[in-house]
């Protein structure tokens, strides 16, 4: 019997400090045993438990794409016991990785459709995974128009700056990066995500919106998409809850009868409507 609580040993091979405040870093982890990578087959939108021995585990969305073999990446904000310990780590440190866990972005459902991706702040991680997956090689042909709206409070808080730069040069992806308030060096767009979404005004025709960000952003962005004509069935999000086991046993991350860890984290708003709200 495979023990789902035992992590795979991994090694930190690269650390990127993403933001000016230095409290968000991306960790690239490589499997110590090559065969484990095979077992850790994941789909964008899934998450994993990062395991720091002596500290505990923390559920984090996978930021890399399965099209990037050899490693898995996680973008982590320093907050609690585990993430603080993680931020202290150096390249070469060994830790544990348990997963992949949860459902994923519904790739099959997105295929053949125009995809609108809306991200806010540091919740952009699994969206980055999805974008990299969709634009990788031949994968790109499987999807229609890709529109991205990504916002942060200020330019210093935008993550994956190099990739944003690279994406902006491609003509098969409509990238709209915005900040709530720019600084002297900022030449891009200024404005809140909901406003930018309205300006970009994607058509609901054969389209799906994937949205991930702070609750307040979601609250104000949803009406924009409803107004544009998107239905609750075509707006998809990913939930966050305090988790421990990640496999639907420990009993804390449920929203109604569904466990965010096992039945989620990805839900359509139509599905969420049916659940008793407790989050």
């Amino acid at each position: 019997m495979q023990n789902p609580y035992i992590p795979y040993p991994v090694e930190v091979v690269k650390i990127v400090t993403e933001v000016d405040t230095k409290d968000i870093k991306t960790f690239r982890l490589a499997f110590v045993n090559k065969e484990d990578e095979e077992k850790f087959k994941y789909i964008p939108g899934q998450f994993a438990e990062l395991s720091i021995f002596g500290k505990g585990e923390s559920p984090i969305g996978i930021a890399s794409s399965p099209t990037q073999p050899g490693y898995v990446e996680f973008t982590v904000q320093k907050a609690g016991v585990v993430t603080s310990a993680l931020h202290e780590m150096e390249v070469g440190t060994r830790m544990g990785l348990r997963g992949p866990l949860g459902n994923s972005w519904p790739i099959e459902f997105l295929e053949g459709k125009n995809v609108v991706i809306v991200g806010g702040g540091f919740a952009f991680t699994t969206l980055r995974s999805l974008i990299n997956y969709m634009i990788f090689g031949d994968n790109r042909k499987r999807f229609g128009k890709i529109t991205v709206v990504y916002g942060a409070r200020n330019p210093g808080l935008l993550i994956y700056k190099d990739e944003l730069e690279a994406w902006s040069k491609r003509d098969d992806i409509d990238l709209n990066v915005t900040v709530d308030k720019g600084d002297a060096a900022w030449k891009g767009r200024e404005g809140f995500v909901p406003t930018v979404c309205k300006e970009v005004g994607p058509s609901p025709e054969n389209a799906v919106t994937v949205i991930c960000g702070p609750p307040i952003m979601i609250r104000f962005t949803l009406p924009v998409f409803f107004e544009l004509g998107f239905s609750k069935e075509t707006i998809i999000t990913s939930l966050e809850m305090r988790m421990k086991c990640g496999i639907g046993k420990c009993g804390r991350c449920n929203v109604g009868s569904k466990y965010v860890c096992k039945d989620g984290p990805v839900f359509t708003f139509a599905e969420l409507d049916k659940l008793t709200r407790d989050f």
Binding site: Q2, I6, G56, R94, K249, G251, R252, S257, T276, F279
Partner: protein
């Protein structure tokens, strides 16, 4: 199914013999508590008990267990599963309500995807000898409202029923039949079976507490935001007594502990009654007050579990009713909800 009759005074001897080949868990009187625990040498099982204070689930899902052990070495941390392989055990004298709790816990821990090896290993190696409640022991017993019965063999491998002069032993599973050799060779006759039928009927009649457990799910679902929830929790002191004594509660926490270079990852019981249970690092708590926590506990047992597993997550043992320090009675809550 094999059935045997045994003399009433033979039970202790049988337990003694089984104990020579397997670890036996049985109710034991420890000071003022009757505890379901591993029989130690020279310890007498207490078989005239009503029910144990702690639930026998503790054997499969202990208060605290090691999931993983690790050591800090020069090369980095090395780790391995900390699971001790379970020994063969016999749980002797489990009440039918508690035996049923194993069936309910199996649904969660032994799912198709994600099997819980800690629970399953111990569960597979345990044989359950249940002791029927010929006279349901407490006025708070309500097993018949939650798909149980005082003489139910659900979850048991062997069911013992006191027929007055002797015990009827029914070997309901192949696992149970492995214990046949300890129970003598007097086969039960039709008369004994008829007697059991009568006892069963009488026992069910003696259960006086009834709740509309099967009917409340749709009412609960429709009343998630009802003002009903605004007041019931007021006297709850947010202790975990109800969940810690409950035979079906299974929520847990995972924590790490280290001492010098050695560490372990533990899973400990946790309780939905605790404010910290769902509190996130950011400080946000999706269940910010005892109102949401109580609603969660009630909904989990009577709505979510039925939805996910088609079974009510309550066996009607009455422990939470009897030992709640402030008499927050789940029977009353379910009954009151049904009237909404």
């Amino acid at each position: 199914m094999e059935k045997r009759l045994i003399k009433k005074d033979a039970l202790t001897g049988i337990i003694g013999k089984i104990a020579q080949e397997a670890v036996v868990f049985a109710p034991v009187k420890v000071e003022d508590n009757v505890l379901f625990k591993a029989l130690e040498k020279g310890e007498e099982p207490f078989l005239t008990y009503a029910n144990s204070k702690n639930a026998p689930k503790n054997h499969f899902f202990p208060r605290s267990e090691v999931m993983l052990r690790y050591t800090r070495t020069a090369k980095g941390v090395e780790f391995a599963g900390g699971q001790k392989e379970a020994e063969a055990t016999v749980l002797f004298g489990v009440r039918p309500c508690d035996a049923r709790s194993f069936v309910l816990l199996d649904l969660l821990f032994d799912q198709e995807k994600y099997k819980d090896p800690y629970y399953i290993d111990k569960r597979q190696k345990a044989t359950i000898v249940a002791l029927a409640c010929v006279h349901p022991p407490y006025a708070t017993c309500f097993c018949t409202s939650v798909d149980g019965h005082p003489l139910s063999a659900d979850g048991a491998d062997v069911l013992l029923t006191d027929l007055g002069e002797e015990f009827l032993a029914e070997f309901v599973t192949p696992k149970g039949e492995k214990l046949l050799k300890y129970f003598g060779d007097v086969k039960a006759d039709a008369a004994a079976e008829a007697k059991k039928e009568a006892v069963a009927e009488q026992a069910a009649k003696e259960i006086k507490s009834h709740i509309p457990a099967r009917e409340v799910k749709p009412i609960m679902d429709a009343n998630f935001d009802s003002p009903f929830w605004n007041t019931i929790h007021q006297k709850c002191i947010a202790c975990g007594t109800c969940t810690y004594l409950c035979p079906t509660c299974h929520c847990f926490d995972i924590t790490d502990e280290m001492k010098r270079d050695d560490g372990r990852r533990l899973r400990n019981w946790d309780s939905c009654m605790y404010p910290m249970f769902t509190k996130e690092t950011s400080g946000h708590n999706p269940r910010p007050t005892q109102r949401e926590r109580w609603r969660q506990r009630a909904m989990h047992k009577f709505s979510y579990y039925p939805e996910n597993f088609n079974a009510i997550a309550c066996v009607g043992c009455g422990r939470c009713v009897m030992y709640c320090p402030v008499n927050l009675d789940i029977r009353k809550i379910v009954t009151d909800i049904s009237k909404l």
